[in-house]
Symmetry: C2
Subunit: 155 residues, 2 copies
């Protein structure tokens, strides 16, 4: 028996390729057995490198529930999440991730995020995109302002 | 001499706290010595867990240049990027990252992403948010459709 949510995500991914809207990826966010939001990859059609299927689905699901966390929700994604999307999944506090194809399958089709995963294992000084620290003392002002703010909304 | 781009980012971060629009973070994307786009954290005010300062700035910069890559651009961010934002920085092909405060400084102010970085070091089976694979064979359809598409836009 195919899982109906993953089946839906796969259909959306195939359709996304056919319509030329973006890469071969889709995701759905589910709560209590109901689809809250769908997302497909829209990187090239919206000129947005962050518009991966999982990101689009998470943002849409948050709009639907009116909150910046998706506690108790699951995400069904046609492919193992990339580092950006995995980060977003943790920030959104999703309860479970169901994925179908692997990062290796994606790499074989030309979408290789293993390079990015490898970068995370490097110390800051050893990364391909140079990361340079400056003005730390001055930047701490922002955290001090946050600590002093009485009516802040933590997250 | 303070760096003018980081100075601007720090001002934006402090202002973001004052106006209550989100967390104490801001970023600017710079090309050829000119600010292309600004971003501040908008997680709580827009109910979007992906609306970190770097993500907002990258998305806005891409809108400005009309492309999904930011080759030759730098990002100035008030704090060391979280895993989601670091992933986005790699996907956007930024040339350089300048950051001010560290992940530890952010953690001391209540924003702890070290937990997420630690999750990346775990194998899929050992992560806090369970990741379950299903329907891989069916999902490969999407990659086959992609491979067969003549007029695709790779990224």
């Amino acid at each position: 028996m195919p899982n109906p949510f993953m089946k839906k995500a796969i259909e959306l991914a195939v359709e996304n390729v056919r319509t030329g809207r973006g890469g071969p990826f889709a995701a759905v966010v589910v709560k209590d057995g109901r689809i809250l939001a769908e997302g497909t990859n829209r990187v090239t059609s919206t000129n947005d490198p962050t518009a991966h299927a999982e990101m689009v689905a998470i943002r849409e699901a948050c709009r639907t529930v009116g909150h910046f966390q998706l506690t108790g929700c699951e995400i069904y994604t046609t492919c193992e999440p990339c580092p950006m999307c995995l980060g977003a999944i943790y920030w959104a506090r999703l309860a479970e991730v169901f994925y179908a194809s692997t990062g290796k399958d994606a790499a074989a089709a030309g979408f290789d995020d293993s390079f990015i995963y490898e970068q995370f294992e490097q110390p800051i000084s050893g990364r391909k995109i140079p990361m340079i620290q400056l003005m730390r003392e001055e930047a701490l002002q922002a955290f001090r302002a946050w600590e002093q703010k009485a009516d802040k909304i933590p997250y």
